[in-house]
């Protein structure tokens, strides 16, 4: 059960390294700034994907993720505009709490109304979009400078030689810290086990004494937290709040599937999807560097996604027959 999963993740990691090497060959000047730009562009996508992964593992899907990110982005930008350093920190905490709240509302509605996940979150997509528009009608607001400094540029640690740490983009460290601090403790705890159990077979989980409804609400709340972080990262990297949802929904679903997480739920890990985000972003960057028509990029990305899932499907079919 674990071994094909690990092989898939390993394959993605190898693919990522190969793509990085290819980028270096295409563009010999690709270095620190390129890596930093890549990591910063990938940050919202990676956070959205992390959230989506948790919900998919729990057997659901959240179509409202991009809209929740927009709500978090505009709330953060509105609260931070003209605020002092301490107030900005408070704003971040508030936005994260708001994310958890939005996710919990999604989950609670799904559990209480018994409407299928995909339909309920489709309806909530409109609701969160509306909320974002009510908070901020047009892009605006601001972001605190010291918070922006957290995700721009390379890491500099006091007491360590600059060349040792300089090449690591701060945004990559931020991503690793955030995902590590949120998901790893959950994964190791009872809640993590319950999320996998509910995703794998709700009835079996229920009969083993797992509170199925609460677990699903918790999974959606975690997803909301990641969506809030993703929305904040959009605000921090652009400096303004954006009320129109970005292309994060499709991209996160694609990355989750490429990352080897089964859409039925119960299987998969968070590392694969995040690697998949970077693979997809890097492919896009390479195609831009190769001066391929940007419109071709969409075709190639879609083809890769479809080809990989078809290949995975055929492999799974073979495995079942054997």
């Amino acid at each position: 059960m674990r071994r094909p999963q690990n092989a898939w993740t390993l394959g993605l990691a190898v693919l990522l390294v190969l793509l990085l090497l290819a980028t270096r060959i295409i563009q010999p000047g690709f270095g620190l700034t390129g890596l930093d730009a890549l990591a910063r562009a990938a940050l919202p996508f990676a956070l959205a994907t992390a959230g989506m992964t948790v919900v998919v593992i729990a057997g659901g899907i959240d179509l409202s993720i991009a809209a929740m990110m927009a709500v978090a982005s505009v709330t953060g930008a509105t609260l931070m505009q003209g605020a002092g350093d301490g107030q900005a920190a408070l704003a971040v905490v508030l936005v994260l709490a708001l994310g958890v709240g939005m996710g919990a509302v999604n989950g609670a509605l799904i559990v209480l109304t018994r409407v299928p996940d995909i339909v309920a979150t489709l309806a909530m997509l409109y609701v969160w979009q509306g909320v974002a528009l009510l908070i901020l009608n047009a892009p605006g607001g601001g972001a605190a400078e010291w918070l922006r400094g957290l995700i721009v540029g390379g890491v500099a640690l006091p007491g360590v030689a600059a060349w040792l740490t300089d090449w690591v983009p701060k945004s990559l460290v931020a991503l690793a810290l955030v995902v590590g601090l949120i998901w790893l403790p959950i994964r190791r705890s009872r809640l993590g086990l319950m999320i996998y159990a509910v995703g794998s077979d709700p009835l079996a989980a229920f009969r083993s004494g797992v509170p199925v409804g609460l677990t699903r609400v918790a999974a959606y709340a975690v997803c909301g937290l990641f969506a809030a972080l993703g929305g904040l990262s959009v605000t921090l990297s652009t400096g303004i709040g954006e009320p129109i949802p970005g292309p994060y929904l499709l991209a996160s679903v694609a990355a989750v599937v490429l990352g080897g997480v089964a859409l039925g739920g119960g299987r998969g890990a968070i590392l694969g999807p995040i690697l998949a985000v970077f693979v997809l972003r890097l492919v896009r960057m390479d195609l831009t560097l190769l001066q391929v028509d940007p419109n071709m990029t969409a075709i190639i990305e879609g083809t890769i996604m479809v080809a990989v899932v078809m290949f995975g499907g055929v492999l799974a079919l073979r495995g079942r027959r054997a």
């Binding site: 909530m124 075709i299 879609g302």
Partner: protein, 325 residues
């Protein structure tokens, strides 16, 4: 439902009555919405308005046919909006060059190709329909962008009969009904009276059981998704006549509402239950709802919130009403 029957037999009988006739509550809801509209703005509900509402609802209902049919087997077709857009755009740009019949043939072929690719992925490779159709939607819109660069100088022309079909009126009612009524009759007849229709329900209710009873599930699915592509293409042609300005995102805004329409109409997204009759009423409900929200003088944000909330509430209530077990 059974627990409540002891306390309120009359209420339970009403619920049972409504539950056995799943279309009735939808029609009642539609009537209620029209009534509220009339109260909000007296005099708005007249012949002209009804014609308009039907005109707007027809493309939505046709695109929702793709969702209804695929949802009956437990699938979904999120590439329908893209296929419709491609068909519309190709027709508008090729008409000046190769004439109307050839342009429409090319356009419908493109839409069907998308459906065939979907069918291949879902039926042969066993990819989840959501992922497969999202992927083809992505590829399709990319192809459309590339295609647009080749035809950017040629100008566009919309075939006259599509404009007639999309915007014309006969005796107060939109001409789109000339296409839609036979179409709807065909779909309802196919789903209820033909073997293909019953196989859709069988696969949706229990795929394994269907396979064990000798159904070649892959053939049905492949045919279904190809058909869905063809319907989407047809919708695109009609919608082109309604909107009259070809664009690269023509029918994309209809994509998610078409799912909502099928769901409001009582088709289960897990497959096996529902039908096209409900979907048609669902499209009317959504159209009236949109008019109502536009009439109320509230900001765009508030309108979207209400729209989402109402979809959720209607779906939840309808599920409660029709699920009797």
């Amino acid at each position: 439902m059974t627990a409540g029957s002891n306390e309120a037999p009359g209420f339970a009988r009403i619920m049972g009555f409504l539950g056995a006739r799943p279309l009735l509550p939808l029609v009642l809801l539609l009537g209620l919405l029209v009534l509220v509209l009339e109260i909000l703005q007296p005099g708005i509900v007249n012949e002209r308005w009804i014609g308009n509402a039907i005109k707007v609802a027809i493309p939505l209902a046709m695109l929702a046919a793709c969702q209804t049919l695929t949802m009956l087997t437990g699938g979904i077709d999120l590439s329908a909006g893209t296929a419709a857009t491609i068909a519309a755009f190709v027709t508008a740009t090729l008409t000046p060059q190769i004439g109307v019949p050839a342009a429409i043939a090319v356009a419908l072929t493109a839409a069907v190709v998308i459906g065939i690719v979907n069918g291949f992925g879902v039926a042969i490779c066993r990819v989840h329909p959501l992922i497969m159709t999202l992927g083809t939607a992505l590829i399709g819109s990319g192809c459309l962008l590339v295609y647009q660069r080749f035809v950017i100088a040629t100008g566009t022309k919309i075939p006259d009969f599509l404009v007639w079909l999309g915007t014309g009126r006969t005796a107060g009612l939109p001409n789109g009904l000339f296409l839609f009524l036979p179409f709807a009759a065909l779909v309802i007849w196919a789903q209820k009276r033909t073997g293909f229709g019953r196989l859709l329900y069988a696969i949706g209710a229990n795929e394994t059981a269907a396979r064990l009873s000798g159904v070649r599930v892959w053939q049905v699915q492949w045919a279904l998704y190809s058909l869905s592509g063809a319907i989407a293409g047809l919708t695109g042609l009609l919608y082109l006549g309604v909107v009259k300005t070809p664009s690269l995102s023509l029918a994309l805004p209809l994509d998610l509402p078409s799912v909502a329409v099928a769901v409001i109409g009582g088709t289960s997204i897990f497959g096996g239950r529902g039908g096209y009759g409900g979907t048609i009423i669902g499209a009317l409900i959504l159209t009236v709802l949109t008019t109502m929200l536009t009439l109320m003088q509230i900001p765009e944000g508030g309108r979207r919130i209400l729209f989402g909330a109402i979809i959720l509430i209607v779906t939840a209530l309808y599920l409660r009403l029709t699920q009797q077990d």
